[in-house]
């Protein structure tokens, strides 16, 4: 057993941490949050130049990483700094699907993504699918040489900024069937696509994507017709690893801020951290931090494993991070008091990131049930 990062990953972590410490403070982020696009193209380009996006793709795909631990290293740092730019959606999710499934023409897009010159979004979830990956109603019907898409995609993160959308649609079967799902790589400005955007509570933007008689050539299909479910599940697993690592990084920041505050804030003539009631709660948070770190290692380390091993670990980790994250976010706010409720204090955004991470790729309850089902299978 060896729990050290490889030299390359250690370097990536150090570079990224230093860059974000210098460039991404609370005021900078609050300016980005208040902007119309909800992201900074400057930060995006600079991070791409640092190799952040390349680290999320394998060598065969044109990158230099792409494994579970590469994803975990990058997103822990992005989470630690509370970065709101959509690396997860462009690179891990939609970009990953293009790299996994695309033919030579489609996969050419990956180079552009790695260079930072292209934004993507994965239009998959629907208003009644909640966290189920196979509950897709959006239809794909052949029309001569073309395929026509109709449906409603819910809370598609980064849809407004995306140059291309990866859209899931059903070619056969019923909502709830794994079989019959296909993916399509479609320019976002294709006729019939309407994007209604809005801000998200924890930063970034999303949109409702309405597909009304969207006619695309059959060559837009990613991979084989009706067989996309396995790829969607595997990519969602990678995205869940990224999300959990991001949450872990944010939790590191929350506990560091809380520890510092407990040692400096004085009430009743002494630092409040000297009150045992608070000291013990802080200790509990630090215990949960170790649990959280190990959980992320479990998920990242099994991302390249067989399907069952991978998914059992993803669900176990997502469940634990949901619980530990909520505890850390709520107790960090509580131990700070009112100051943590203010938007200009770093913890406010960090706490939102931690809790809202539970609303992507399945929440605590969803993954508890999924863990039971997978473990019994």
């Amino acid at each position: 057993m060896n729990f050290e990062l490889t030299e390359e990953r250690q370097m990536l972590q150090d570079t990224l941490r230093r860059f974000l410490r210098d460039r991404y403070d609370t005021a900078t982020r609050n300016t980005i949050l208040d902007s119309a696009t909800g992201m900074s193209s400057e930060i995006w380009t600079e991070l791409a130049e640092l190799g952040v996006i390349g680290a999320l793709f394998t060598e065969e795909q044109g990158g230099f990483g792409g494994k579970g631990f590469d994803i975990a290293v990058v997103f822990e740092e992005l989470g630690r700094a509370g970065v709101v730019e959509p690396f997860l959606d462009t690179a891990v999710l939609a970009g990953g699907l293009v790299a996994d499934l695309g033919d030579d023409t489609q996969a050419a897009l990956v180079e552009e993504i790695i260079g930072g010159g292209c934004q993507l979004a994965f239009a998959h979830g629907e208003p009644t699918s909640r966290y189920d990956l196979n509950r897709v109603q959006t239809s794909a019907k052949a029309d001569g040489d073309n395929i026509v898409l109709n449906g409603h995609k819910a809370v598609v993160v980064n849809a407004e900024a995306a140059d291309h959308l990866v859209i899931s649609a059903r070619e056969s079967g019923e909502p709830g069937d794994d079989a019959g799902l296909s993916l399509f790589l479609v320019p976002a400005d294709t006729k019939g696509i309407t994007i209604q955007g809005y801000a998200l509570l924890a930063g970034g933007r999303a949109a409702e994507v309405m597909l009304d008689e969207v006619s695309i050539p059959a060559s837009a299909r990613l991979g084989k017709a009706g067989e996309a479910f396995a790829a969607i599940e595997a990519r969602t697993a990678a995205a869940a690893v990224a999300q959990c690592a991001e949450t872990l990084g944010a939790m590191e920041t929350a506990t560091a801020l809380t520890k510092e505050y407990l040692m400096t804030r004085k009430q009743f003539g002494r630092p409040i951290g000297t009150f045992q009631a608070l000291a013990h709660r802080m200790s509990d948070l630090l215990i949960e931090m170790e649990q959280a770190r190990s959980a992320v290692i479990n998920a990242a380390g099994h991302l390249e494993g067989d399907r069952k091993t991978r998914e059992v670990n993803v669900s176990a980790t997502k469940n634990l991070m949901g619980r530990a994250g909520r505890l850390v976010a709520e107790d960090s706010i509580q131990m700070h008091g009112g100051i943590a409720m203010t938007q200009e204090y770093e913890l406010a955004h960090i706490a939102k990131r931690i809790v809202m991470g539970d609303h992507r790729f399945g929440d605590t309850d969803h993954h508890l049930e999924r863990f039971i089902a997978l473990a019994a299978a």
Binding site: Y198, A206, Q334
Partner: protein, 401 residues
């Protein structure tokens, strides 16, 4: 032991219910439903106050001689429960149920004659100047000073207050200020009424993590306050403040809010689909909801026991602290359930900073901003004496204080 309400109390509940059905404007109800009243404007709140005042129910806690209804604790509870269930706006408490009881007990005849009618008519909007950046849980360490001028006509006030709720709407603030630095902290504090339009006062909004501009910082630089605006005696302010805090703790359990919140969660979970079925049919989720409901039923009875004791003239002691702790835990758990219920649709956020970009915020369940509410209500266990302070009181009193 009898768990039922008396016929009189039942009749009173009917009266409250029909009043709310008839007089609560739909626009106000719609703003309160789902978002807990965050969208209410100053005019909305004043409108509701005026409607209640016309009915004689704006200040049910006041003695009759000051124009109040003198309801007992059970009546107040019934009103609060019905008002929460009907999505009525909350009565803004700072003047009516915080300052007024202090004036009734410690204010001069002139002060009562002048300020109380203005309060009822909506001429003044009061806010509370207690907390300071360095004085939160340790309120008695406050540093804002008030020094009498040579002529003895005015106090000169300098310092900073914070967490001033709805201070942006206020024209008056009641403040705790330090008038003697050389004695024990609690013995050098006075209670002053300050006109917010006096030169030297600056109000700066604090934007909270859910984007809501509901609290403020208030800065005082050489602010002249007439000595007539001192309540009671100089350096006795801590006594008055403690008296006020016991009034701040009425309806502290928030049973009505929790019941309304739980009903909302159930309604949302009937519409939200999970695994192809309504979420409410998911046994794991249903168990979570049931667990909170079981706790709430017991707490509602605890609340009634304490109310019955108060209605019989008894003084609640540490039970108020217990209700604060348990009540906020339950309310926050319900907020957590509401955000969970909404699933991915908990993520959208109506940002006020980005103008015009939030048209058509998707909300298929009609859930309102559940995640923003979850974060906003983290305040419940922080303000009005944090839950840690309450636990300290419970321990001190029950273990030999």
């Amino acid at each position: 032991m009898d768990l039922s309400y008396s016929d009189e109390e039942k009749a009173f509940r009917e009266e409250v219910r029909s009043f709310l059905a008839e007089k609560l404007p739909k626009e106000l109800r719609d703003k309160v439903a789902g978002s807990d009243g965050d969208g209410l404007t100053k005019a909305d709140m004043e409108r509701w106050h005026a409607i209640l005042n016309e009915q004689g129910w704006l200040v049910p806690n006041w003695p009759k001689k000051f124009g109040g209804a003198e309801w007992n604790a059970v009546q107040k509870h019934i009103f609060e429960e019905e008002a929460a269930a009907a999505d009525a706006p909350r009565i803004v408490p700072f003047g009516f149920s915080m300052l007024a009881p202090v004036l009734h007990k410690f204010g001069s005849q002139e002060q009562n004659d002048y300020w109380l009618p203005r309060m009822l008519n909506g001429d003044d909007w009061w806010c509370q100047g207690y907390s300071e950046p360095g004085a939160g849980s340790d309120l008695a360490s406050l540093k804002t000073t008030a020094v009498k001028n040579e002529a003895g006509t005015h106090y000169i006030v300098n310092g900073q207050k914070t967490w001033t709720t709805l201070g942006q709407h206020a024209n008056m603030i009641f403040c705790l200020v330090r008038t003697d630095k050389d004695v024990k902290q609690q013995e050098g504090i006075s209670f002053l009424l300050i006109d917010m339009n006096t030169p030297g006062i600056e109000v700066r909004p604090i934007i909270l993590l859910d984007g809501a501009p509901e609290v403020n910082e208030v800065w005082f630089t050489d602010v002249e306050v007439p000595v007539e605006n001192l309540v009671g005696e100089e350096n006795k302010g801590w006594t008055y403040a403690k008296y006020l805090l016991t009034h701040e703790r009425t309806n502290i359990a928030g049973v009505g809010f929790s019941q309304a919140g739980l009903n909302t969660v159930k309604r949302l979970a009937k519409s939200e689909m999970a695994g192809g079925k309504p979420l409410i049919q998911n046994p794991h989720f249903a168990a979570r909801v049931a667990q909170v409901e079981i706790d709430l039923r017991a707490m509602a009875t605890t609340n009634m026991r304490i109310i019955a004791k108060a209605a019989g003239g008894g003084t609640p002691g540490i039970e108020a602290s217990m209700l604060k702790v348990k009540g906020t835990i339950i309310r926050q758990e319900i907020n957590d359930l509401a955000r969970r219920t909404a699933g991915v649709y908990a993520m959208p956020f109506a940002s006020e900073a980005i103008e015009g970009s939030n048209a058509g915020l998707p909300d298929p369940l009609g859930a309102g901003p559940v995640a923003a509410k979850y974060f906003n209500n983290r305040k419940l266990s922080i303000f009005g004496g944090s839950n840690e302070i309450q636990r300290g009181i419970i321990a001190k009193v029950s273990m030999g204080g």
